[in-house]
Structures are given as structure tokens and as C-alpha cells.
Symmetry: C2
Subunit: 767 residues, 2 copies
């Protein structure tokens, strides 16, 4: 049972918490969807637009910090407390700000922290690990993009206060963030001091990346200028503390090195409210040559908190106009879908096409801010069909990293472009090669993804093709997209091997999407995607020749696309081997998979670890156990090529062999979609909820490390391609819906070739 506190806090300026809309999560869960409660613990209360934490849980602090991440595509900030807490992991990550680090080469840098607000009550510091918490509520309103927190607290000395924090990262102005802090004295008369700081000493789990350059102050404004230690990216952050009741207030600047602070002290008595607004501006040398000036100038010209807040809320309202998905009859699905869309949107660069979306978005340190296929295959469709400008930004990132993809191909002895499995600033391969063995020994294990997980190169081509098909953006396709598809095809033409004795092409020594198996030959996913890729490359070139002959000529010369090469592409796309039973349609994940020892995953239940952790790397490699659905993924991506019967056959074979719970978080949404296609609605909903709650309810136990960004996009696809059954026909989008029984209504919009299509499915409205 989660109890919701009805906090009647006398916040001025109409910031009431919408208690009336609240529902109890546990009740909703049982009422609405019948999901096994043990899978999804009850951490939060939910309304249609809000996630509400009603009880301070220090033991899952870092999970909460992830869930309450806010952002605006430029930066993301975890939901850490303004006043700090022991064991907290605060982080503000700005997309594109990477710095060098051993073993994993580069990582997204934890930037100077704009949150710190320390409140001292008669010299006693407000901190939740001391004193007594009488009431507590933290909530994220994803409609407004506001994170707020109420605390009713009594200090060790017995002074009682109510404190309200609210913060946002402006969607209207990407370089601006703000916090409002309100303090009500319940029973205390005396001095309160509020210190508002910039913490110039953030770290990435023990690694610090910043070098102090300069700092300064002017009246109530303080600023800090720092530089990354290795990549020499400059950052400037400025903040002003606006105090609404200035009588009796003494302002003091405390310019400690690297930790500029402005302090306000004032007297308070019972019933009185103090309101302070911390306005923050942030710029880096990625946007301007003079970040300090930019931050100071912007701060000098901002309006007050409430005006900034209104503009921010209005920007979100605009987004939700097109991006909202309405689900009626299933509150949990409703808020979960909106929450995942919110997390996807705040991770997407709005004004920058030289960055992409990291695997953990801008919300945590895991995967070091590196870019994977997660972007093109899982996240991109959401943007392609709702915010194509953002989709183009993401694809342009790949275009800008072509030079390094060509280097990588050359390094491995091939022509064309071979994209990095893990990518960051330049596109150079940044997959770690060695990682510590998880068994506690002191040995390292060699990770081969950066060498042989090759499918990323076709995944990017797929994203390009899908974007072009959905948008009809011929201009972009001719200038950028075609080059991406063609130069990666050049790579495949070199990489594929002809085996005359077998009279077929093969691709040996790869890792497919299922990373439990490495160094495999003829991975079906990889081979079929390459067939598709080379077919598509020929189509794209022919289209280019017809419509942009000059550009076609240019690319043929530049990429050395000779007639002979085109013949080989055509031949490969016909004769690249895939192991499939022609009768049943069952596809073998890779050559020899069916000879591996079979496994019954039920024998290992209950478990709290991945099958790879349980079996060890070597044994998992020798078993028919999957980290994620390799073949099913293929059936989803190229779904027009496969019959329902083939999908069903493969589903039935691979689903029981997949580590759904602790394998890859990418899998469940794909399983949900395919389950819809073969009318397995109960299973579809189960997989859907496993994906939808992965962060909110910490289904996998690793949400503390950051948002599962791919899953946020996967959820969107599960709703649109799965439950709604969106299909693109020659005349446009149509639906083939398979709604879960509890859903009374599903409403959403997509954009296709410059037109918006609004779908509103109302099922049995009268019953």
C-alpha cells in the first residue's frame, strides 16, 4: 500500500500539487492489467501525467535520481537533491561534452552542478539524513516538465519547516535552467541562511574531468569557468539568486575556489514564507567561442522565474500536441508511455547534429555516454514519425562521423565505411576492449564488440532508409543519406566472403544482436540485413541517377562504385547464405546454433541475474540461450518479408530461450510487437509492461545507472507498430490494431511525408 500525503503547503503563485488526480499505483496495477506484482514492485504513485514518490527511500536513492531526471535535449540533470545526500549520484550531462578516460577511451562528462542549495536554520543544516522527516513528496510532471519536492521536516534542535523545491531545464531556452525554493517556518523564529552554489567539482563515479579556469561575481550573480582536462572543452555557468522578500535579507558572495556561492540570510517567524529563485545559464565552447560572456549576457537578460516557467510549460504543451499518446482504461500504461516519451524527447539534441542519444540518455554514467545502434533502431522511429527534424539531427551525427567509419574500415583492411559499435565525439571506435571479470578475480576479459559486432553498419542504413521513406526528404537523402547507405554498402561488398566450394557468400566471425554468442559465422540477422542493405543501395543509386544525376556521378566517383562492384552487390544480395528451414521457416540464429546444448530457463528461476552471469561467458556461448531476440529482431525490422506463420514459428522457438528478465533491455518491446502480430495479446502486454516499467519500477535492478534510452523508443514502437499495428502502405499509413483488453482508447498522431495522421481508436466505448 502506498499512501499519498495530502500536503497542504501554502505555495504562492499557484503551484498546487494535483492530489485530486492521484491514483494509487498498487490498486491501478491490480485493477487494470493483472501483471504479476512480483515483477513490478510498487515504488511510485501515478497520475496520468505525473510520477509521485511519496516516501523518502534512502536505500533506492540512485534509482529515484534516474527516474526524476529532467532535461531539454541540450542537457540532462538527475533528480538529486538540492541539499545533497550521502551516497547520492548527482549528474548534469551536456550532450557532446566528452573527455578522455582510461580503458573506455572517452565518456560524457559530469558537468558543474547547478543544483546546490544549502539551507541553514539557526546554523543547523537542512539534510534528510538528520532530523525528522514528517512528510515527503517528490513528483515529476511530464506534461509541464517540472520536478518538485515537498518536505515537512524537523531539525535535531526541534525547529520545524516546510520546504518546497521546483526545478526545470527550459525546453524554450536550452541554455537555461531554474529552481524555485520556498521555505515556510512552522514553529521557528530566527535566522535562516540559504547558500546557492555552483559545484565545480563534479565527478564521474570517482573520475574528475574539470580544470578550474576562472570565476567571478557581481552583485547577486556568480559564475564559473572550467575546462575539460583532456579535450579542452570550455564550460561557463552563471547563476543569480532572486529573492522575493528582500526586507531584512543580507546577501553575501562566497567565492570559494571552484565552488562559487551566494548566500542570503534573513529572519523568519512562524507562518512566514521565504521564496528564492535560482536562475542558471550554461554555455560551452561547442556553441560559442566566449562561453563566459554568453552565460553572463543571457543571465543579464532573463525575466523572472514564473515567466521563464510559463514559457517552458508552453514549449512542452507544443510538444505534447503532436507527441502525446492517449491510453484510456489503463492508467499505468498511460503514464508509463508518456514518461518514456518524455525521457526520449529530453535526450534528443534539438539544435545540434554532431551529437546523438547515448545509451543511457543524459541521465547516468553507464555505457559512458557512448552511442550504439540503440539510436537508429530503437529511438529513431519515434522521431522520424513525430519530430523528423530531430531524426535528421541524429542521422546527421552519423554523416559527420563517416570519416572515422572510413578509418575503421581501412584499419580492418576494407574499403567503404564501417561504423563504430560504440561511438562518441568523432565516430572513432570507443568500445572497451578489456573489462574486469565480474567474478571478483583480478583478471580482465577481452570484449570483441568493437571488432566484430558489425550489424551496426546496416542498422544505420536502415535508419536512413526509414527516415527517407517516412519523410520523403529527397533533398537530405541526395546530399547525406545516399552517401551513408552507399559507402556502408561498399564496406559490406568487401567484408562478405565468397566460398566457391559452397557456391555461396558467407559472413564469418561476427557478433549478432544476441551478445551471449560471439565469434559466430553467418548470423542470420547480420546476413539478412546485409542482403537488404545491398539491395537497398542499388535502389538508392538508381533513384539518385534518375533524380540527381550529378550527385550520383559524384558519389560513384568518390566512393569508387564501379559496375563490377554493383554486380557483386547484386550477387551477394542473392547468394549470401542464411540458415533457414524452408519448410517450417525456422531461421537458425547462426550456423551451428541448433547444435548447441539446449537449456530450460525455468530451471534457473527464480533468479536476479542474467543467464550469462549465472553460466559464465564461455558456457552461455555454448548454450541455446539468448540475451535478446536476434532472429525476432530481424523479423521485426524486415517484417514485410515474412509471413505470420514464419513469425510464429520463430517466436515459438526463440521466446522460451530468451533471457527476458535480465538479458538485454532492448528485447521486451520487440517481443511485444511480434506478439501482437501473431495475436498473443497477453504475452504482448507482459513484454510491453516489462519494457515500460524498466526505469519507473526498476524491473531489472539497474535503473540507478540511468534511463534505458533504447527502451523509451521501443515502448513507442510497441504501442504504434505493435498494439496500434501501424503499417505503411503505398497510399499511406494504416492500422491493424491489437489493443490490450483493458485499453478503451488509443489516440496518437504520426507524420508521414509532411502530413500529420491522427488515429483515435475507441474500443467498445459503450460497453
Amino acid at each position: 500500500m502506498v499512501s499519498i500525503h495530502n500536503i497542504s503547503f501554502p505555495i504562492t503563485n499557484s503551484l498546487p500539487i494535483e492530489v485530486s488526480q492521484m491514483h494509487k499505483f498498487s490498486q491501478s496495477l491490480c485493477d487494470n492489467n493483472g501483471i504479476n506484482e512480483t515483477i513490478i514492485p510498487h515504488n511510485f504513485a501515478y497520475t496520468e501525467w505525473t510520477v509521485i514518490d511519496t516516501k523518502f527511500e534512502p536505500n533506492s536513492l540512485q534509482h529515484r535520481e534516474t527516474v526524476f531526471t529532467i532535461g531539454n535535449g541540450y542537457l540532462g540533470t538527475r533528480g538529486s537533491f538540492e541539499e545533497g545526500y550521502p551516497g547520492a549520484m548527482p549528474a548534469t550531462l551536456i550532450n557532446g561534452i566528452y573527455d578522455d578516460v582510461p580503458m573506455v577511451y572517452t565518456e560524457l562528462v559530469n558537468c558543474p552542478d547547478w543544483l546546490p542549495i544549502v539551507i541553514s536554520i539557526e546554523g543547523e543544516r537542512f539534510r534528510l539524513d538528520r532530523g525528522e522527516i514528517l512528510n515527503y513528496q517528490q513528483q515529476l510532471d511530464v506534461h509541464k516538465g517540472l520536478l518538485s519536492r515537498y518536505i515537512h521536516w524537523r531539525s535535531q534542535a526541534g525547529h520545524t519547516v516546510k520546504i518546497y523545491f521546483e526545478r526545470f531545464a527550459s525546453l524554450a531556452q536550452q541554455h537555461l535552467t531554474a529552481i524555485r525554493c520556498q521555505i515556510l517556518s512552522v514553529d521557528f523564529t530566527g535566522e535562516i541562511e540559504i547558500q546557492s552554489s555552483i559545484n565545480g567539482y563534479p565527478d564521474n563515479q570517482g573520475v574528475c574531468h574539470w580544470e578550474w579556469l576562472d570565476q567571478g561575481e557581481k552583485e547577486d550573480i556568480i559564475w564559473l569557468n572550467t575546462s575539460t582536462r583532456h579535450t579542452n572543452l570550455e564550460l561557463a555557468i552563471a547563476t543569480q539568486l532572486q529573492i522575493n522578500n528582500t526586507e531584512n535579507t543580507e546577501i553575501q558572495i562566497k567565492g570559494c575556489q571552484g565552488y562559487p556561492t551566494v548566500a542570503a540570510s534573513m529572519y523568519i517567524q512562524p507562518g512566514k514564507i521565504i521564496t528564492l529563485d535560482k536562475i542558471v545559464t550554461i554555455f560551452t565552447s561547442r556553441e560559442t567561442a566566449t562561453p563566459v560572456k554568453a552565460a553572463k549576457d543571457k543571465l543579464a537578460n532573463v525575466s523572472d522565474y514564473l515567466t521563464l516557467r510559463s514559457a517552458h510549460i508552453e514549449a512542452w504543451a507544443q510538444v505534447w500536441q503532436n507527441n502525446d499518446i492517449i491510453i484510456e482504461g489503463d492508467l499505468i500504461a498511460q503514464i508509463a508511455v508518456r514518461y518514456n516519451i518524455f525521457q526520449a524527447i529530453i535526450a534528443a539534441p534539438q539544435q545540434d547534429d554532431r551529437v546523438s542519444i547515448p545509451a543511457k540518455s543524459l541521465s547516468g554514467f553507464s555505457y559512458r555516454g557512448h552511442i550504439f545502434w540503440d539510436t537508429e533502431i530503437f529511438l529513431l522511429p519515434l522521431f522520424t514519425f513525430t519530430q523528423p527534424k530531430l531524426a535528421r539531427n541524429l542521422l546527421n551525427y552519423r554523416y559527420h562521423t563517416l570519416a572515422e567509419a572510413r578509418h575503421k574500415a581501412l584499419d580492418f583492411g576494407y574499403e567503404g565505411a564501417m561504423f563504430a559499435w560504440e561511438s562518441a565525439t568523432t565516430g572513432e571506435e570507443v568500445s572497451p576492449r578489456w573489462v574486469p571479470l565480474a567474478d571478483g578475480s583480478k583478471e580482465l576479459v577481452r570484449i570483441w564488440c568493437g571488432d566484430i559486432e558489425l550489424h551496426i553498419t546496416s542498422d544505420i542504413a536502415y535508419g536512413v532508409w526509414q527516415y527517407w521513406q517516412a519523410t520523403g526528404d529527397d533533398d537530405w537523402m541526395s546530399n547525406y543519406g545516399a552517401e551513408l547507405i552507399l559507402d556502408t554498402a561498399v564496406f559490406w561488398g568487401c567484408r562478405v566472403e565468397w566460398y566457391p566450394e559452397k557456391n555461396r557468400y558467407e559472413i564469418r566471425d561476427v557478433i549478432g544482436p544476441d551478445e551471449y554468442h560471439d565469434h559466430v559465422n553467418n548470423n542470420a540477422f547480420t546476413n539478412q540485413m546485409v542482403k537488404w542493405h545491398l539491395e537497398t543501395a542499388i535502389i538508392v543509386l538508381n533513384w539518385l541517377r534518375q533524380n540527381y544525376p550529378h550527385r550520383a556521378n559524384e558519389l560513384e566517383t568518390q566512393l569508387k562504385i564501379t559496375p563490377k562492384r554493383l554486380d557483386i552487390w547484386a550477387d551477394i544480395s542473392k547468394n549470401l547464405w542464411i540458415s533457414q528451414d524452408l519448410q517450417t521457416g525456422l531461421i537458425e540464429q547462426f550456423e551451428g546454433f541448433f547444435n548447441l546444448q539446449d537449456i530450460n530457463l525455468h530451471d534457473y528461476e527464480p533468479r536476479q541475474k542474467s543467464m550469462q552471469s549465472i553460466l559464465g561467458i564461455a558456457k552461455a556461448n555454448q548454450r541455446q540461450v539468448l540475451k535478446q531476440p536476434d532472429v525476432l529482431m530481424l523479423l521485426f525490422l524486415l517484417r514485410e518479408k515474412y509471413t505470420k506463420q514464419v513469425i510464429e514459428t520463430n517466436w515459438n522457438y526463440y521466446t522460451p530461450r530468451t533471457d527476458h528478465t535480465y538479458g538485454s533491455s532492448l528485447g521486451p518491446s520487440i517481443h511485444a510487437i511480434l506478439a501482437c502480430e501473431i495475436d498473443k495479446l497477453t504475452a504482448a502486454y507482459e513484454h510491453f509492461m516489462r519494457a515500460a516499467m524498466v526505469d519507473l519500477e526498476d524491473v531489472r535492478g539497474n535503473a540507478d545507472e540511468g534511463i534505458h534510452a533504447a527502451s523509451t523508443g521501443g515502448i513507442w514502437q510497441a504501442v504504434i507498430f505493435g498494439f496500434a499495428g501501424l503499417q505503411i502502405t503505398e497510399t499511406g499509413p494504416i492500422l491493424n490494431p491489437h489493443l490490450p483488453p483493458s485499453w478503451n482508447r488509443l489516440q496518437f498522431k504520426i507524420q508521414w511525408r509532411d502530413r500529420w495522421y491522427e488515429f483515435d481508436l475507441k474500443l467498445n466505448p459503450a460497453e
Copy 2:
């Protein structure tokens, strides 16, 4: 040409710089020793007791920081500037404060920085990277243990000031450090603000180890309490800013999180001097359960700066009473020897026998504060013969880590105690297993020292034996030393292998002191030391049986020393094979060394890299090139076993094949000693100077990483065992001197069996 500025700074309280004693380094160098000037660049000016930097060189900032390290055995602090500088590497290392770190397991932690003093002149910050330096001098007085700095500086706004800093880490009170700061206005009238801080955000080259716990302030005192993140060691540091001229002074506390600061602002006019004293106390949970209370209490009871300073100087005067070595006729040798003794003493734990001396003392991050054989073989003799109490502390550290040495032996399948090649808190093996290849590729190379560089185990036994012989400390020997020698002998008894077909014992697959060659068989150094070790173990056991029969019995039972085991030890010490030409006495470094490809090191000159860097690891392994003199090291340690002719033969063979310049810094002092024994005085002096100036003149180009601690002890041995020719006979110490021609006098003391022996060699005093 180094020019010495005669700074006439009106420091009060008699702190004049002793300009009259100064000599120019370049002149002294040419006059006195004829060393090739290209080997030793001219960085500093020297007097008999001081090292003086006369010109600010931002390009060698970190080298200067190492050279000007101060300390007191409890902590060491690099000579970084109070006001900071871009690219500086400030560090305060407290012995025993280790924290976890990836790849190298554990490292000595950079502790909260007690140095920061920021001076603002009318809002303009004093910083040497801005404005104009009109005069500059930094000097370390090793007699008094004082580091001072004068700067005559004009700000960008045109305000001119003279600033004097002086600091010390009290040798009289190990938890106390202090800084005096004096400011004279030359032409400026207006406000000066001085911020004195504790920086709670230090890092180890990008790795931060501290978590903030608490901080506070009371009047002009501020304190900070932090904890290491993984090992949970608590540290408290408190500081008070004492201002001598309190009229017009406004004191402000700036309690920024993790960076507590006290600021004093005052008005100044031309000719006026401001004097501020920053007194600091530091405690950790290694010494007290309540470090905050300890730091605050101690600070509450300290006297003023000059009194504390006097006590500190007096403590150093006491040390120099016994530890000084007087060299007349060679100023550079004089100051270099004193400087090296100073650096050795400030690294040695005075009141703690659960820590030892890290490879880079407490002065830098290289080798992560790990403990090697450097302590027992290079540093220990200095302490054994001059401060036996400190020597005992160092050996007790090994005694306290016996449990982990036994674990290591067990892990490798042996009995007894097998000491870690690299050791830290517990004695667990902390040698890194994998390190990045230096060639810029992304690959790692496996380092085998922690597995097979076994000689450390006998090196420790050697240190025990030498300490016992020199001190006659039978009590300690029976309680601690004997167990160390015997249980390590048990290990060797298991590790040595019998080859019946060869009728001999062998030790295969080891690394000797010369680490250019790994996985070698029958390394002469290792095998001969093991022979000595097992012989010695039998002697020790017999002594114990005669003098401490109860203890002998106890150890025989505990360590399972059976008659059979003793027979094997005796047999091994007779039949363990060493490859030596019986006619010439030439010892083969290891089996097969003479078959390796020979090399002429002159072919590679001039060079600025080690031969291993030039050849690569594999090729160096296949050549007759040495990182350090493996066989010669043996001849030095067991010098009573070898004739002058054998030494000469081996010297002649190995010296031209040794990488003296960029191989191991441990080698030159040993070469110097052996050169004395065979009357090669020119060579002896050359090797001696290469060791003596390794840090002062950055002979190897890596002094920025920290003091070469082993070399500081090696220098002492080179003077005492080499030039003075100290030999211990049955009746006591005698000398067999071989003084360099320029030395008119060599005076020193050693302690032998509780008696002090003073030697005063005056050569040709009248000529």
C-alpha cells in the same frame, strides 16, 4: 648562467634569505667535478643547505613541485603554490591513507589540500599566469625544513606587491602544518582580501577518492571532515587564520560545501606589510576514533607561528646532529647528499609501524604509493645505521603483512610466506596485471612482476638480518625478525625444484631485478639470495634455539619447521645452481643470458628513452641489455662472498650493457659503490652524480612524478659503503675510503650496536 636575485624583502621576525651563502650551480659544477654538463641541466642554485629556484619556469612546474616537497614522515606535501597555477599537480599524501582504484587496485590518496591562499588586490586575483613577475625566488632549506617563496609582482591593473610565503610540516608535531604569508604593498593603496581555504576536492590525476561528511566553523577556525569512498578512512582537517595586524581587518567565514574558507579583508598602503599565519591540524581515523575532535582540540591548543616554527627547526637540528654528512670541496655533492637524506627522512613513518615508504615517497602519484623492495634494499640501511627506531617501524610493516604473504604463498600452491612484489595496506599483492602499451595502441600488456618477481621475499629477509646485525636488537629479532626470516625460508623450500637428472636445484620462471627480462630460469641474483637466505635461516634458528628456546619451539611448531625441512634447506643452499665461470668468476645473469643477441648501447646514443621503449618489450627480452645491474646488485649485497677480481670481471661485462640513463633509477648508486671497490673513481663519481641529481636536476626527465625514494637511500649507501668504504668487522665498523679527488673532507656518524661512531675523513688538508 643562473642569476641569483638579491631580494631585499622587509620580512619581519628575522626570516632573511641567506644570499651570502649562495653559489652558482653552473660554476660549482664545472669547478668541482667535471661531469658532462649535458647530463645534468642547471635548474637550481645551491648552497650547502638550500636548493634555490631563481626563475619561475611554468614549463617545469611539476618538476619543481616534486623537488620542493616537504613532510614529516606522517604526511608529505608537494611544493605547489598556495595560490594555484594552471596545470599544477598539488598533493598532500598521508602515509597509510589508501583507497581502491581500478587496474592498480589501491593507491595512496591525495588528501584535502591545506595550502590554498588566494590574495585579491582590489578584486584582482594574485596569480602568476597573469600580471608581471618582477622578481621570483623559491627555496627549500633542508636544515630547517622550511620551504619559502618570494614574489615581486605587478597586477594587470598595475598594482605592485611583494609577497612572501613560508611553510613547514612540523617535525616536532606530526599532525601540524603551517604557512606564513606576508604582503608588502609597493605602490598600492586599497583593499586586499586574503582567502585561506581547505580544498576538499583533491584528486589523484583525475581520480577523486573523498566523500564529504561534514564541515563547520567557529570564529576564525574552519574544519572539514571527509571519508575515502571505498576504504572508509576518515580524515579531519582544521585551520585557523591568525592575522597579526588586526586593525581594519574584517574576517568572514565562507562555508562553501567541501571548500571551507576564511577570508580577511583589510586596507593597505605603500610600505605597509600584512602578516597572516595559517595553522593547520590533520588527523585521520588511523590514529583516532574522533578525528574532527582531535583536529579541533589540537588547533585550540597550538601557539603562534614563530613558536611552532622554532620547535620544528629544533627537531630538524636534532635530526641533523646524527644524520648529517659533511662533504667539503664539492658543494653540489654536499647539498645533493643532504637533500636526499632530507627526502628520505620526511618519507619515513616515525610513529607508525603499519606503513612503509612508497616508491615515490609521499611526493607523487607514480607507482600509486605502493611498497617495493626499494624500502628494504635501498632505504633501510640509512635508517638501520642512523635511526634504528625508524628501521624497525619499516620492518614491522612487513611483519604485520605476513598474513597476506602467507595467503599469497597458498594461492600459488606453496607453504610459508611469499611477499607481494607491490604491497600497500594489508600486504595483499597489488602489482597491476595489465597496463596500457606505451606505443599509443589501445592494447594492454600483461605485467608478470606480481606473479614471478620473487626476490622481494629474500630482500626482506636481508633487511631483517642487516638490521639485527647492526643493532644487536635480539629482543626484536626473537619476537619478529626470526619469524620473518624463517617463514619466508619455508616458502623457498617449497618453491625451489630438484632436477635429479642434473643433480641440482633450480628456480625457474622468475623475473630478477633486471626487469627487461622476464620468465627466466635460474636468475643468479635470485638463486644466490635464496642460498644465502636458507643458510641464514638455519643460523637464525640455531641462535634462537640457544638463546630463546621457548620461542624457537613455538616457531618450529607454528611454521612446521621439521628436521627434514632443515635438511632440505641445507641441501638447497649447497646445490642450488648458479651459472658462473669458475675460472673468470663471470656470473651469467640467468641461464641462457650469454646466448642472447649482444648489443652496443653506444649505437643508440643520443637517446631520451629507455632501451625497452626503443626496442619494445619482446626485443629487449632477447638482447643482452639490462634495465639495472642484476649480477652487480648481488655482488654488492653479499659483498663479503666475492673477491675484487670477481667484482671487476662482472663489472666489466655488465656495465657497458646496462641502461644507466633511462633504465632503473636504482642502478646508479649501486654502480657507484662497486666502482669504488675496484678503484674506478671517475666512474664511481659519474654514477653517484647521476643518482644524486635524479630529482634535483631531473636527470631522467620523470622527477615530476615524485621523488625517487630508493635513490635517496642509494645515495646514502654510495657515500657510506662506496666512497667512505664502511665495512663491518667483528670488532666494529671500519673504513676503506675511496674519496673523489675534489672531496677535502667527509664526515658522518653511524650507529652500530647501540654506539655512535663518528668518522671524519680529511684528505690532504694542507695541500
